[in-house]
Symmetry: C2
Subunit: 421 residues, 2 copies
């Protein structure tokens, strides 16, 4: 069974926004045991949407579109698809009532254009939108009801709204249960992603590639995916022996990479750290200069972080490093704010003053400006103060500002993870 | 002239990562005056890569691929394309020397597999990689040198590595200058994006759609793009009168939306706030509870933020709200930490204690847990303390945790922006 995605939106083709719907839908489908064969994005032009839908319906059994169902003049997917499939648009009274109620419940003025969203192609099944006004639509194609002769077989076209807040609950509540019932996932496919930090992609392949190739007679698919501060090793197998094969492969990878492996699946490093702290009933504080709050923000992205995270100090100025964290003026004068000594005092000061079992500190030069001969852009000191000891790492994260923050907070979280293990 | 993109990677089709290359490339091409007609993503399978490339070369003049040029076993783009176009792979001595030098300069061990990246399809032009080891490749198709007869015309296929840190400088230095010279952008296309906050998408269309439709005899294309906490209005026109038409349209939109418009183009709200503070020689501090450092982090994402941002306090616990910010225990006892009074004292305390001209504070219930009958999940108070006054906004941001942080920090930044205007 083939599934293809079509994401519509001129903003996607002009690069104004990231296509998060693509990732999210693929993740959900993969987790449920389905494979997405292809994803296509086109702009809001009706002809482009129709061409992409015609081609996808020519190949795939199920085509899922996102975008173009809203109330504004560039929302053309519903009309374009109805036209392609030769269906009339008819106002659906229950959808119209829901739209009117949505505005009434929020005491907001209702622009008349919002009622366009109640127009439904003949024969389409409405998928309710619990977080917005545009309903989703599910249409059976084929069976002689299609104007376009290239869509001949019995296929399904599913239209979802573009905003992730609307698309996601609609897919989980109104599409996935139907899909699993109508098209049970193909045989057991087992996929495990082992997430690692601290080693490069080709070094990892050199460590695990050879031993993995000796497993299971070629039925194992191995993939590598590198991102700033982490590399995923993806292990996939199909068939009856899939679970055992992937388990053997996981043992090999963990044996080779040791505690560079920090998690499995979609787990991120901040979740692992919060879980370790929760299990050990320990707390953490953050003292940030160059990462500017990103470390605190990553930790507090984890639901339940309030049980283990007491708080943080973002101290950009030397003055605040002294007043909020107790860094000594002699230290700053002798070594500068970007130094091993300053990082150590920031972490120990945060631990004592904010009242936590552990504290992490970052001080460095994110760039693009501020570098010197002896401390170039990318220089960073990362400290971890705990009940037993204080450790300081010196790193050279010569990246753009965003990647610098990402990699530096990754290294800080990993320093604490290793201390907690 | 048609351009299409092909992004390869099983991690994209399993939803393990976001396709940031798609957005970035489209943005660069749009800014240079080009339109991307279609973007396709497929997994790392050689047959899928070849099928997508064959189809794209059948439609487009220029096809750009990303991904699959690295050293690991799932990097198949180079081989698959060489096979499709009937070209042999030959080791390029200069590329091999660069790869060896890259590892030597960083004093890292060099796995032998890295040298696979020096294999270049016959006739391909090498595009140097200044941030990694896999070179890009530019190949002229057609002219009878193609094995596959479906690729008949004179077209170009450009292969770029997947990692954004490598792809981005390579495209800017090694592809875009050539593209502009070989295929000058079509006539003047003017596109302006006006970014707004505080109004919904359909309300905005109701305000601006009618007056915009009266401009310039239909030559204006208007698009709307809603994201958490902001809506873009995109104005596009082609031809000789494009600049004047878009300028008129901008005047209409600004007239209707007033200071809901906060910026133009790719400018984000934190950049606008940092610029206003810089111009007025004012400083800001942050006091965060529910946003957990995100507000400080967004401000410090802006290069040069250190001139206007003194620092921040992330105070999750009541204890730290009192000790770091001076919130009174009577206030917390009488009103709770999530209250207008607590937000006010957090902002005023941060302003005084951290020593800034302005301070922003957030206190609320991000969820998923922690809500009560009177203060449900999503309840948030946002305060701005300045030299003249303190303002507190009460909002109901009932979203997932990530969207909550995004929308709440957006509202906080907007509160300061309006005070600075």
């Amino acid at each position: 069974m083939q599934i293809e995605l079509i994401n519509t939106g001129t903003e996607l083709m002009r690069g104004d926004v990231l296509n998060t719907d693509h990732q999210w839908l693929c993740r959900q489908l993969a987790d449920a045991g389905y494979t997405v064969a292809r994803q296509v994005a086109v702009d809001d032009g009706a002809a482009h949407i129709q061409e992409a839908a015609r081609e996808a319906l020519g190949r795939a059994d199920i085509v899922i579109t996102s975008g173009g169902l809203g109330p504004t003049s560039d929302d053309l997917t519903r009309d374009a698809i109805a036209d392609l499939l030769g269906r009339r648009l008819i106002e659906d009274a229950s959808v119209r009532a829901r739209i009117d109620a949505w505005f009434a419940a929020r005491n907001r003025p209702q622009p008349p254009a919002t009622r366009i969203q109640a127009m439904v192609p003949e024969g389409a099944i409405v998928i309710p939108n619990t977080h917005g006004t545009a309903p989703g639509l599910r249409m059976r194609c084929g069976h002689g009801s299609i104007a376009d002769s290239t869509v001949a077989a019995d296929k399904w076209l599913i239209m979802l709204p573009g905003p992730p807040r609307e698309l996601q609950p609609m897919f989980l509540e109104g599409v996935l249960p139907w899909l699993k019932a109508a098209f049970p996932p193909p045989g057991p496919t087992v996929c495990r992603i082992l997430r690692s930090t601290g080693l490069g992609e080709s070094v990892i392949q050199e460590m695990v590639g050879e031993p993995l190739s000796k497993l299971g007679g070629g039925g194992l698919e191995v993939g590598y995916c590198a991102r700033p501060g982490e590399v995923d090793v993806r292990l996939t197998a199909c068939g009856a022996a899939a679970e055992a094969l992937v388990a053997d492969a996981e043992t090999v990878v963990r044996g080779q990479l040791g505690d560079h492996v920090f998690g499995v699946g979609g787990e991120v490093l901040e979740q692992v750290v919060v879980r370790l702290l929760t299990n050990r009933r320990r707390t953490v504080a953050a003292a940030e200069s160059c990462t500017g709050g990103r470390l605190s923000s990553r930790i507090t992205d984890v639901p339940g972080a309030s049980d283990v995270f007491v708080g943080g100090a973002v101290t950009y100025s030397n003055d605040l490093k002294q007043r909020m964290l107790g860094v000594r003026s002699e230290t700053l004068a002798a070594h500068g704010a970007v130094s091993e000594a300053a990082a150590r005092e920031m972490a120990e000061g945060a631990r004592a003053r904010l009242g936590a079992d552990y504290a992490l500190a970052t001080t460095g030069i994110a760039g693009p400006s501020g570098g010197t001969e002896t401390k170039p852009v990318g220089t960073v000191f990362i400290a971890m103060a705990g009940p037993d000891r204080t450790l300081v790492r010196h790193e050279w994260n010569r990246f753009d500002r965003e990647t610098f923050k990402r990699v530096t907070t990754q290294q800080a979280l990993d320093l604490l993870r290793r201390e907690l293990l």
